[in-house]
Each structure stands twice: as C-alpha cells, then as structure tokens.
Symmetry: C2
Subunit: 214 residues, 2 copies
DNA sequence: GTCTATACTTGGATAGAC
DNA sequence: GTCTATCCAAGTATAGAC
C-alpha cells in the first residue's frame, strides 16, 4: 500500500474519529448514489451529506471512484448476507421465490439495486472502473446460479434451461426491473412479476414432488 | 413554437446546409451516447464529432438534453420500423423469436440498445428528462405486449402469464442484458439466452399445433 | 447560420495552515 | 486528521462578429 491513505499511528480516540468519518463518507456515498445517481455523487455532494470537508474524500479514499467502490462493497456484502440466509433456509422453490420477492422489493424501495445500476452505468465514464464493478458483480452471478440450480435441480425444466443461463437472465431481469422502476416510479409491475413467478414456482414444486414419487 | 430554433426564411441552399448540420448533430449525438455514454455526450464532444461549432447545438436544439432526445427519437423510430416488420411477417413463435434474436443482437452490436439505456439512466441527472424518456419508451412497451400476445395467444401459457407482464419482463430483460453486455463485453451470454428462448418457442409452437387439432 | 470568444458554474484534486 | 483556500479542467449557455 503506497497510497496516501490514513496512517494508523494515532491515539485511540483520534483513530476512532477517523474511522467514523470514513464510515460517514461511505454512508453518504450510498445515499448520493441512490438519490442523485452516479452523476450527482460528487466529492462535494458526498462530503456535504457526511458533514465534513470535501478534501477528506481524497485523504481517505484517494479518489471519488474509489469511495464509490467502497460504497458498492458495503451495500453488496450486507445484502449478500441477507440473500444467502434466505437461500439456506428455503425448503421449496415456492419458499425461495417468496422470500426473494420480499427481500428484492425491500431492496428496490431502499435503493440498494439502484446503487448497483448506477455503478454499472456510471463505470463507462471513468476509465478502468468497469472491471472493478464487474468484480463486485461476480458474487451475485454466482449466487444467482446456485439459487437457480437449487430451484431447477429436480424439475423437468433443468435440462430445458441450464442454471448458468437462468442465472444470467435473472440478474439481467433484476437490473432491468430497477431501471424501469426508477424511470417511472412503478414498483407495482415488478411486484406483479414476482407474484407470477410464485405461481410458476408452485408448479415446479408440484412437478418436483411428482418426480420424487416416480 | 416560441423556441429560438432555426428560421425557415433562407434560400434553398442555405436551408439545405442547415438541415445537414442538424442531421449531423443528431448522428454525432447517437455516436457519443453509444461510445462514451450519457456523461460523455457533452455539447463539445458532440459538436467535435459533427465537425461544427459547439454553439450550433444550442442554436438548433436549445439544449444538450433536447439534442439527446432527438437522437433517441431517431434511433427509436428507425428500429421500431424494423421490429414491426418482423412481427408482421412471423408466422410461428419460433420464427418470431428467431428474427427477434437476429435483430436484437445486431442492435446490441450497433449500440442501439446502449443509447436507450444511457438515456434512461442519464435522465436522473437532468431535472424533467425522466418523463420525456419514458414517453419514448412507451411505444416499445406496447410493441412488446402485442408481440407477447401473439406469441402466447394460442398456447397453454397464455393464462399462466398475461401478456402485459410478459412484455414488462421482456423489456426489462433486454435492458438488463445490455447492461451486463456493456460491462464485460460479453454478448455470448445474450446469444445463448436467445438460443434457449428459441428452443422454448418450438415447444410453444408444438403445443399450439396440438391445441388447434383438439 | 455559423463562427469565435467569453461569462459563469461545477467538479477533481492538491497545498498548506492548524 | 481535518480544515480552508486554491488551481485547473470541462461543461452549459450566450454575445456578437461575419
């Protein structure tokens, strides 16, 4: 680490306050991405939200992009934990879709998906940012694939639709739903799609039950 | 029209050159949106591409946003004509998916979908732009719905999945696929999904054929 | 209509005081 | 570590010459 980042040799109180500022900046960056998008997430705007000087963005993170990546990391890891929990607990496909619906709609409202979409599209305007965002998207693609494998595993659809492709479609669908929802503020359409997915999941569960009997 | 747009009282040659510049700006705006995204589509960058002065952006269109909307209109109407043609000619669902696959992948490569995605996400950073982009997206949602109605109309899936919801999912899916493709340059994944859709379409056609026999 | 020149704003990033 | 002050680049938009 040859970066001009914060030194660790301060007193305990000072180090704590420094960590507070760092955390406040990350939180503020998330809020800025969510409410004003990538273009609105400037060092000045973020520092204003965090209640500190704009210079601290560069002291703590080196650049605005690196702060935004830290913000993406924060959202991503927190939400990933929630989704992993639901995946482990779901016994049936219906239950899986059911809790996915609940968490995803909550994320839609909380703006977590928006943060991801903004980072993906905003990456175009900053050289070298694309691959770093892709890195952070990778765990989600893997997660979607294991979820798809679990959902399709025993059903007759498994050979009709490989889990890798299903996962790609699901991730793309989530991103696209967020784009449409953020354009016209319509979250009802996404909700209706989840209800439909739930009905289809019931069919899958039924088919899976039949398969086990044969 | 009280706007400061171009006057129509010039000689024929002058009016023609003016129209040329206007068209060149629209073309340049499309290229800028496609290659450098919304953030890179500044008046300076666009004028540079068009080979004219940056001031002409404001003379002809009043603002950068209005030029970008004109660019979106151009792409949207041109591509809509192509898609409508294929919808009218397709006799079977398989044929429908087949030509949709061809045109959409061509659009992906040509950057037409990218222009739309950039305008949707970029709309967040310009007050009042969102509804105007939504207006231009509406025809695509309608188109997707008639296509879905035609594809599902005679199949057993029609009651399982209303065409309005299918259309919403398809539009979201297209937008999401473009985002993923533009992030890692992977168009193969989108291609694989279309191949899969084609296989499913064959099943639908078969089911529809059976339905007609009964 | 088209150009050059310019006013004004905002943003990334750094310097130096404390 | 945090601040204020500042530099520089890039953007929108307008004024005025041609």
């Amino acid at each position: 680490m040859a970066k001009p980042g914060p030194r660790q040799a301060a007193g305990t109180a000072a180090r704590e306050r420094s960590a507070d500022v760092r955390a406040a900046l990350v939180t503020a960056a998330i809020g800025a991405l969510r409410e004003t998008g990538f273009a609105g997430a400037s060092a000045r705007a973020i520092a204003g939200r965090a209640g500190c000087s704009q210079a601290l963005v560069f002291y703590h993170f080196g650049s605005v992009s690196d702060l935004l990546l830290a913000a993406l990391d924060e959202v991503s890891t927190l939400r990933m934990a929630a989704y992993r929990g639901l995946l482990d607990e779901a016994e049936s496909v219906t239950a899986l879709v059911d809790s996915a619906r609940e968490i995803f709609l909550a994320d839609l409202d909380a703006g977590h998906v928006r943060v991801l979409v903004e980072m993906i599209t905003g990456a175009h305007s900053v050289p070298g940012l694309g691959p770093q965002v892709a890195e952070r998207l990778a765990p989600w693609r893997e997660f979607a694939e294991t979820a798809a494998r679990r959902a399709l595993g025993r059903s007759p659809l498994a050979r009709l639709l490989p889990s890798a492709e299903a996962a790609h479609a699901v991730v793309a669908g989530f991103l696209g739903l967020e784009m449409l929802a953020s354009l016209d503020g319509d979250r009802v359409a996404a909700l209706a799609l989840f209800d439909r997915a739930r009905a289809l999941a019931r069919l899958l569960d039924a088919a899976s039950g039949l398969g086990r009997l044969l």
